[in-house]
């Protein structure tokens, strides 16, 4: 008798517990959705809408003046853009620029970071000084470097003092992109240094002590120990740098306007000029879509590094 009552009782308890559990789950889903709603809304308005609008617009051809409605033309714009030798040259230039600037910036940042974690005095001061260019907004640094690279500016006066020939820098088709690289790296090296110093500091010092006991030289230690251990941070920083440099815009728009002789026309500036300078919105949208497809690949790659790194750190 008592036994039966007990089972019935615990049965009720069990089902009410499950019910309560189910209710708790439901409220949790409700709050998750509520909390995510503003972000998802922002995602739709700020990212998905413009993307769809650009893709949609890239399928149409508009007539100048806008009196006749734009007509659907399928992939015609893509055919036009991809058979335009200037555009192909721009894409190639953008990739080449990134192929040079990113490894350059990251290897220099790594070099600076390695120097900063040595047994040096006032390391905080040196690090701050190298970091200061990062704090100058890109408009400000562009203005500063335009003055520095003037034909009769301080950089050339330094070259002359050293017995070298003055250079044209931004005014020469051969040197303009290199000058842009210099400006971007002045900012970028200090920025990525902060990430890499954190990476270098996370290497356990016991490993270095062991290497010291084994009498491994500093170069050997760097290539055999440091580099493999910070590989993941290095890859993350490299991809993040690529993403940033793919959309480098302000110095080009402010200092060279893509010239001289298209030598600094990179993809993002080209899309901007096509849309606003030449007023070809549909072709501009086509270029934006092409740029976005390239960017999405790099961002996905960057995200996978970011995530794996975190998982590793939590472990």
């Amino acid at each position: 008798m008592e036994g039966i009552v007990l089972t019935v009782h615990s049965g009720i308890k069990e089902s009410s517990k499950r019910r309560r559990h189910f209710l708790a789950k439901k409220t949790e889903y409700f709050w998750a959705l509520t909390f995510l709603l503003p972000t998802l809304l922002a995602l739709i308005v700020l990212r998905i809408t413009p993307m769809i609008s650009a893709i949609y617009s890239s399928f149409f051809i508009a007539y100048p003046g806008g009196i006749r409605p734009a007509i659907f033309s399928g992939l015609e714009n893509y055919r036009t853009v991809l058979s335009d030798s200037d555009f192909i040259a721009t894409v190639e230039r953008t990739f080449l620029f990134n192929l040079v600037i990113n490894p350059l910036q990251i290897s220099l940042s790594l070099l600076v970071s390695v120097l900063m974690v040595q047994r040096i005095r006032f390391e905080g001061l040196w690090r701050t000084l190298i970091f200061i260019p990062v704090l100058i907004p890109i408009v400000g640094s562009s203005i500063t470097w335009q003055a520095i690279l003037q034909p009769d500016g301080p950089f050339n006066s330094l070259l002359v003092t050293l017995g070298l020939k003055p250079q044209l820098f931004l005014n020469s088709p051969q040197q303009s992109l290199q000058s842009i690289t210099l400006i971007a790296s002045w900012i970028g090296i200090g920025y990525w240094m902060m990430f890499l110093i954190a990476g270098l500091r996370s290497v356990p010092s016991e490993i270095y002590e062991a290497a010291e006991i084994d009498r491994a030289g500093p170069i050997r230690v760097f290539f055999k120990i440091t580099l493999p251990l910070i590989k993941r941070q290095l890859l993350f920083v490299l991809v993040a740098d690529i993403v940033a440099n793919f959309v480098l815009f302000a110095p080009i728009q402010l200092l060279t306007a893509g010239g001289p002789e298209s030598s600094t026309t990179l993809l993002i500036f080209d899309a901007y000029r096509t849309t606003y300078g030449y007023g070809s919105r549909n072709l501009g949208a086509t270029k934006v879509v092409i740029l976005s497809i390239i960017m999405i690949c790099f961002v996905a790659l960057q995200f996978s590094f970011l995530r794996e790194k975190k998982v590793k750190e939590i472990e």
Binding site: T27, E28, W31, L33, T34, F35, L36, P38, T39, L43, V45, L46, R47, I48, P50, M51, S53, A54, L115, Q118, R119, I120, R121, F122, L125, L129, I132, L135, I136, P137, V139, G140, I143, T144, W145, Q146, A147, G153, P154, S157, L158, T161, W186, M194, F195, S202, P204, S205, V243, A244, A250, L254, Y272, V288, S292, M295, V299, F303, L306, K310
Partner: protein
């Protein structure tokens, strides 16, 4: 880790030749910034006069003057642009933090099916550099009547993928038992978020606020596209305009650059002093 390294550094002898290398390198990086700063506080014509010969007068002014700053504010109306920038960035930080808090809590603390997919999708979408999408977005915003409005200026900055990522990371480090015991006491999810998680994550919050602020403060392409009226122009675009019209008025352009740089610099160094080291990306913890 850092502390242990420090104590080890003390045990070892300072390497002076490496220190000199580091000092030289730091000098190379800082010298253009010094030139910029000195140029802003010396007579305008002196910049042009001294820059073609390499010598000490390149960075040593004959006299100090604030006429470049005066000119910038009195004649070019830089003050109005600065105000627009402050207002825009301030609102962006407040709204952006609120959004990031809610999203980070949902994605890091709450459990629901498909959470990791939603998380990946949200962060990837917002890590996509904004510049890539700015051109079509400005056309969409113009169609919606948001051109030349504060709303149009502010909206794109409010959703910051890295801020969400950072805060989520921070939240995941808070023990789950806090939330469970609060729930037993009858606390609702918003209460747990704002009474417990928010208070325990001040450094993460400051970090995310700075990320959003710097992003908004230095934005150039977006305000260039969405604002055409002068009275609503943000400071970087106003400076770029002044530069476009008077490229050789170095003094005023340098003064504008210095002001634009000082704001995030002061914010970062002040907050760093109070809340520990500021981390740019997601290196903390």
């Amino acid at each position: 880790m850092r502390i242990r390294n420090r104590s080890e550094q003390k045990r070892f002898r300072t390497n002076w030749s490496t220190t000199i290398c580091a000092a030289l390198l730091a000098f190379m990086f800082i010298i253009p910034a010094i030139w910029l700063f000195v140029g802003s506080i010396r007579p305008n014509n002196e910049i042009l006069a001294t820059m073609s010969t390499f010598g000490w007068d390149l960075i040593i002014p004959s006299r100090l003057t604030f006429e470049n700053y005066y000119h910038l504010f009195a004649d070019l109306g830089f003050g109005a642009a600065l105000w627009t920038s402050f207002f825009t960035s301030g609102v962006t930080v407040l709204v952006g933090l609120f959004l990031a808090l809610l999203a980070a809590y949902a994605l890091g603390v709450l459990n629901f099916p498909g959470r990791s997919i939603v998380f990946s999708f949200v962060v990837i979408s917002f890590m996509m550099p904004f510049e890539a999408i700015a051109i079509p977005l400005s056309q969409v915003f113009t169609k919606w009547g948001l051109a030349n409005t504060y709303l149009g200026l502010i909206l794109p900055g409010i959703a910051n993928g890295l801020a969400i990522f950072n805060l989520r990371q921070y939240f995941m480090g808070i023990p789950k038992s806090f939330r469970e015991s609060a729930k037993l006491d009858g606390a609702s999810e918003p209460m747990i978020l704002f009474k417990i998680y928010l208070r325990l994550s001040t450094p993460g919050l400051i970090n995310s606020a700075l990320l959003i602020f710097v992003g908004s403060w230095t934005a150039y392409l977006w305000p260039l596209l969405i604002v055409s009226e002068n009275h609503l122009q943000v400071a970087p675009v106003a400076l770029a305009r002044a530069f476009g019209e008077h490229a050789s008025s170095y003094g005023q352009n340098f003064a504008g650059s210095v002001i634009l740089s000082l704001v995030p610099a002061v914010a970062i160094f002040a907050l760093q002093r109070h809340f520990g080291r500021f981390e740019w990306g997601s290196e903390e913890k």
